[in-house]
């Protein structure tokens, strides 16, 4: 058995950093960021786009499909820099692609309205409806696709810290339970599996009503209407921003730092071990638009 990762390893890595000196929350983003910075690798950069609308959800937490469609259009245009949503989607996929949309299917799942909005957008961009599939499931679902759109729901996870982007493809592994316990740091390897690697065109996180504790089993005390969509082409950068939102919300709830326990080992590993993207905040540009109340993250 490999050497365990312990609490002491985290404290050693951030010892002497500004985060430690300021008493930053244990296993908060500052600690994880300090750890990631120490890995020798070439500099990377990524842009993560966040679009929010105060009217995305009604008072009874129902999705307003019209508002959501508008948010999605705005989001993909901002992510790609294209002029129209059609051009934006066509810069990500081809009409000849078999596009697999990978939602969170269970326990605080991706909103069906968002799945449908993405599907409709792809159809409007020229991808035939029969070539757009729900790819949530085993590896055979990924294999038949030539392009993937990761569409996870934003939630904390009691086993892995965060259960959003990197965990989104866990069923492709054929053995999800292998990634509980310490092996959650290896979630990034699933993104490099044959049949999966290189296919993800967009990571789009459903941050409409996230879950900031006790996931995946839903505890409604920890749900809140964030009314946001978070997207980018760098899955690790998107996960890092999602993680920050979760951590900031937790701190806001308790009025003091409330770190995730266990810490999300998978995020730094996806950067430094699997090379999937960047988890370093100084390499991530956040492009936030729309509703600013309760934003929790800054550019």
């Amino acid at each position: 058995m490999s050497k365990p990762v312990t609490r002491r390893d985290f404290m050693r890595e951030s010892a002497g950093t500004a985060a430690a000196a300021l008493g930053a929350s244990l296993f908060g983003l500052d600690h994880l960021d300090a750890i990631a910075r120490q890995a020798p690798r070439q500099a990377r950069s990524a842009t993560v786009t966040l679009v929010r609308d105060r009217n995305a959800l009604t008072a009874s937490h129902e999705v307003d499909p019209t508002v959501l469609a508008r948010m999605l259009s705005d989001l993909v245009v901002r992510v790609t820099g294209e002029r129209t949503p059609r051009a934006a989607w066509l810069s990500l996929v081809k009409p000849s692609d078999v596009v697999g949309i990978v939602p969170t299917g269970h326990l605080n799942p991706t909103h069906g309205e968002l799945f449908e909005a993405v599907r409709r957008s792809l159809i409007d961009a020229g991808v035939p409806a029969q070539n757009i599939v729900n790819a949530n499931g085993g590896i055979e679902k990924a294999r038949v696709c030539t392009a993937l759109v990761a569409l996870p729901a934003l939630k904390a996870h009691w086993l892995t810290g965060i259960g959003t982007v990197l965990k989104n493809y866990i069923l492709f592994s054929g053995g999800p339970s292998r990634y509980h316990d310490e092996n959650n740091a290896r979630l990034g390897e699933i993104w490099n599996l044959p049949g999966v690697k290189g296919k993800t065109r967009l990571v789009l996180v459903d941050g409409l009503r996230p879950l900031c504790d006790k996931g995946p089993q839903v505890d409604p005390r920890y749900l809140w209407d964030y009314n946001g969509l978070i997207a980018g082409v760098d899955p690790v950068a998107v996960e890092t921003i999602a993680l920050r939102i979760i951590l900031e919300k937790r701190q806001a709830l308790r009025g003091e730092p409330w770190p995730l326990s266990p810490p999300p080992l998978c995020v730094a590993a996806a950067d430094t071990v699997y090379g999937l993207g960047t988890s370093r905040m100084n390499e991530i540009k956040l492009n936030a638009a729309g509703w600013t109340e309760g934003l929790l993250v800054g550019p």
């Binding site: 365990p4 990762v5 312990t6 002491r8 499931g137 259960g163 339970s177 316990d181 326990s261």
Partner: protein, 392 residues
């Protein structure tokens, strides 16, 4: 006292993450956890051997029966529950199932109450193999509004109440907690969740009614005796946070309360019982319990984390010794192992002091103590509470 931790040149955590690559198989079973929709076939998990021993000792799985009302206001349930056991819990709730099998889980009965034009009310009855396990699940989160469901329960501090009973154990007196449409309750060997799909005054009333129906006629069990080992105070400096006391058996649950290690370096299992508690610094002043409870404790200035005390009772002294040595080797390799029966020892590490003491079948560990004296006081006080036998 051994080597200073920095002299050892610990392996970079990033390098350790690299060691988690090929070859690491972990110790969990190899079943697949399929989602609710589009599920792929998966193999049944390997049964936990310690649970098998427990079943044989108890003469086989317990048979629990619960007769829930057919209707709750406008809501109606199906005739029978959906039965979930250890082989199907992961297809039902993915990785959340690990929490329940981390206690002595027997089975889960699920009832979905439905009503025309209304969101459903989901009743989940987690039947455990002991009352302590039901309590342990509730202790994962003491938040929410305390609710009294049964006439014979402890009096609790409801808003507006003029009195509050304080239990002998250093935990909240609540046996049921409610928030945002979810009622969580502990009733002897049962832990239950009653969740309204949408919280309304009507659904809240029925959620509470179902809670009362669940606990009606059931025994009011005592809390785990192990909790009495936890000192309420460390001198006049630190006070236990009652709302941060967990009862557990699994290292996964421990990591949810306090991340110690990615591996099970304390050899926790279903054959063990453990408690972990957080402590806050308190200022000098009023010493009555009521006054102290009213004051908000604050973290120690300059301290990045609260002191914690972890107490583990193993099945026997030999198992405790092996676990103790495993823990020292994995977490405190620089520490000098005290001779059997020696006084508590403490070790300074990166983020404060760790105190530890092995007392018969009980291992006591103080974590994130601000200084050596606090670490020793925590451990020694708990050791006195535990008694020479290290347990009950």
């Amino acid at each position: 006292m051994g080597y200073h931790p920095r002299v050892l040149r610990p392996i970079s955590m990033l390098a350790v993450l690299g060691l988690l690559l090929p070859g690491c198989t972990g110790s969990r079973s190899t079943d697949d956890r399929a989602p609710k929709r589009g599920a792929a076939a998966f193999a049944a998990p390997r049964p936990d051997p310690s649970l098998a021993l427990l079943r044989r000792a108890k003469g086989g799985p317990a048979i629990q029966k619960m007769s829930l009302p057919k209707t709750a206001g406008a809501w109606t349930r199906p005739d029978g529950p959906k039965r979930i056991d250890e082989s199907t819990i992961f297809s039902y709730m993915d990785g959340a199932g690990e929490m329940y099998v981390g206690y002595r889980f027997d089975h889960l009965d699920v009832y979905e109450y439905t009503a025309p034009g209304r969101d459903s009310i989901l009743v989940e009855l987690y039947w455990m193999r002991s009352s302590d396990d039901g309590f342990g699940l509730l202790s994962n989160d003491w938040g929410g509004q305390a609710v009294v469901l049964g006439a014979s329960e402890d009096i609790h501090g409801l808003p507006g109440a003029t009195s509050r009973a304080v239990s002998d154990e250093p935990v909240p007196t609540s046996r049921a907690l409610y928030g945002a449409g979810l009622l969580r309750l502990w009733s002897d060997d049962l832990y239950a969740r009653v969740l309204a799909g949408r919280e309304t005054p009507e659904s809240r009333e029925q959620v509470w009614a179902l809670g009362r129906a669940i606990v009606a006629g059931r025994p009011v069990a005592a809390r785990p005796a192990l909790l009495r080992v936890l000192p309420e105070r460390i001198g006049e400096t630190f006070r236990l946070r009652r709302d941060r006391v967990w009862f557990l058996r699994s290292h996964l649950v421990l990591n949810s309360a306090y991340f110690l290690s990615s591996q099970n370096i304390l050899d926790l299992s279903l054959a063990c019982e453990a408690a972990i508690a957080a402590y806050d610094a308190v200022r000098s002043g009023p010493t009555s319990r009521a006054d102290s409870d009213a004051r908000r404790p604050v973290p120690t200035p300059g301290q990045t984390a609260r002191p914690h005390l972890l107490v583990i009772r193993y099945p026997d002294a030999a198992t405790a010794r092996r676990a103790f040595e495993h823990f020292l080797g994995a977490y405190l390799p620089e520490a000098r192992v005290p001779t059997p029966g020696a006084a508590a020892a403490a070790q300074r590490i990166e983020h404060g002091w760790v105190g530890f003491r092995l007392q018969s079948q009980t291992l006591i560990v103080a974590l994130d103590a601000p200084d050596e004296a606090a670490a020793n006081t925590l451990v020694e006080t708990a050791a006195r509470n535990a008694g020479p036998g290290g347990g009950r």
